[in-house]
């Protein structure tokens, strides 16, 4: 286990296990990351090497590295598990990033409620001589959008964890107006391994090249964080989680910004970002959540959209009004007491959301809704008729 473990690794154990970080020049390191084809693990899956190069080109030696461990995704545990178990690997990655992009300061942005991660990172920073005076921990406020990159920068700058209009993007003008590399903590940890072992090591992992953390939850016997080599299948992951509890009727892949998928269809296919993208799915932040057979897909979709609506930063009209109207309509559908045209309206509204916010919050919600409307199409149609395919509850009787 490279990235997770039962206890917090001390600096001595960490050094003994992995040895020192090699002193690669900026160009060499970025070239290694590009050759590794490592994709970011915060959710958007942007190529890490290209992101570092973009900041390096703008930094003039005064950039900032913001290690993003906010992990606001409700079903994800992997970033806090990584920081709690391997804080020094995350710190190594952040230090490498400062050298590669030309930065002097590091901010570790850690979810305020993730106490084990916060404690491990604080303890680890105190153990390090090589980072003294250059790093600080900023506690990320709870909330889904706090970890969005412009929101993270905004919080550090002004104490306000709401996204800002881009451009300027953080890589142009971020913390203190300086070019800023906002990089997920798992991406940094993987960069620290690739720097030590070369891109071949990463490319040789698994049938689909690469390795990473996922969080498995829902209708499995042992929910939790798994470290996988890419190429393992959904079925492998379910087995490693102690097997399914009953028949799962769907699986949520990629988190709340990801989408519902058919368990049988995906069972033998690899969990890997590029392969999933070619199947119209998102790896996102590595969330794998099995929906139990007795749960209603319409209700589950409604719950997620209601949550996402509640997490809007309430800055942009389409998100404030459109997303909350969609959430309300799905709630009526889930309760089997819809208005006459609720299903038609969410189809139309859902199609209008994408690309119409300062951040991608409405885009993520629209994608989740679309996947639910496709996978649970029959059940949505039944709910519009006040019936439910999954839950055989008696219809509500109107009381006079």
């Amino acid at each position: 286990m490279e990235l997770i473990g039962p206890v917090t690794e001390s600096l001595a154990t960490h050094r003994q296990r992995l040895g020192p970080v090699p002193a690669l020049a900026s160009d060499e390191l970025i070239a290694e990351l590009e050759s590794s084809r490592l994709l970011g693990r915060g959710g958007a899956g942007f190529p890490v090497g290209r992101k570092w190069r973009t900041v390096a080109e703008r930094s003039s030696g005064r950039a900032v590295v913001l290690a993003n461990g906010a992990e606001g995704e409700p079903l994800s545990r992997k970033d806090r598990s990584l920081m709690a178990a391997r804080p020094h690997l995350v710190i190594d990655g952040a230090l490498l990033a400062t050298r590669a992009v030309g930065a002097d300061d590091i901010i570790f942005y850690v979810g305020a409620e993730h106490q084990a991660a916060d404690a491990a990172m604080r303890h680890a920073l105190a153990e390090r001589q090589d980072i003294r005076g250059r790093a600080q921990i900023v506690r990320a406020p709870a909330g889904y959008v706090s970890g969005e990159e412009s929101a993270a920068v905004h919080f550090v700058n002004a104490g306000d964890a709401r996204p800002t209009t881009t451009p300027p993007r953080p890589f142009d003008r971020g913390v203190g107006g300086r070019p800023t590399l906002v990089q997920n903590v798992e991406s940094l940890a993987l960069a620290a391994l690739i720097a030590r072992r070369g891109h071949e090591w990463y490319q040789d992992r698994g049938r689909w090249s690469g390795t990473g953390l996922i969080t498995v939850s829902g209708a499995v016997n042992h929910a939790g964080v798994q470290e996988i080599d890419f190429g393992v299948t959904l079925g492998d992951v379910a087995s490693a989680a102690g097997g399914l509890r009953g028949d799962a009727q769907a699986v949520l892949l990629g988190g709340y910004f990801g989408g519902w998928a058919d368990v049988d269809e995906q069972w033998g296919l690899p969990l890997e970002p590029r392969s999933m993208r070619s199947r119209g799915l998102g790896f996102g932040c590595g969330v794998v959540h099995f929906l139990a057979a007795e749960s209603c897909g319409v209700e589950a979709t409604s719950r997620i959209l209601t949550y996402l609506g509640s997490q809007s930063a309430r800055q942009c009209g389409p998100c404030v009004f459109g997303l909350s109207a969609i959430a309300a309509a799905t709630q009526r559908l889930a309760a089997r007491s819809p208005q006459a045209d609720d299903l038609d309206r969410i189809l139309r509204w859902g199609g209008q959301l994408a690309g119409r916010g300062a951040c991608h919050h409405p885009d993520g919600a629209a994608g989740l809704l679309r996947s639910g409307l496709e996978l649970f199409a029959d059940d949505f149609a039944q709910h519009q008729r006040r019936r439910c395919l999954t839950v055989s509850r008696p219809e509500r009787v109107a009381v006079a």
């Binding site: 209009t165 800055q315 009209g317 389409p318 009004f321 459109g322 209008q352 916010g357 300062a358």
Partner: protein, 67 residues
């Protein structure tokens, strides 16, 4: 090439003047917020688009040169 209309979504308050001036490119959703057609704008609309940009009460629109 060509120009596109970009909306600052945080500034936009849904006044809707842009859709009145430039219905060829901008529709409003059920709450009065603009939905901008994708793709570059035909040349003959650029002047009107400039007027829409100048007319927005909260200065939420701009014309950007698209790649």
């Amino acid at each position: 090439m060509g120009e596109t209309i970009e909306v600052d979504r945080i500034r936009c308050d849904g006044h809707g003047l842009c859709a009145e001036l430039l219905p060829e490119r901008i529709n409003l959703d059920d709450w009065g917020f603009p939905i901008v057609k994708r793709g570059p704008m035909p040349d003959h609309l650029v002047e009107v688009a400039r007027r829409a940009v100048d007319t927005c009460p909260v200065l939420a629109l701009r014309l950007a040169r698209s790649a």
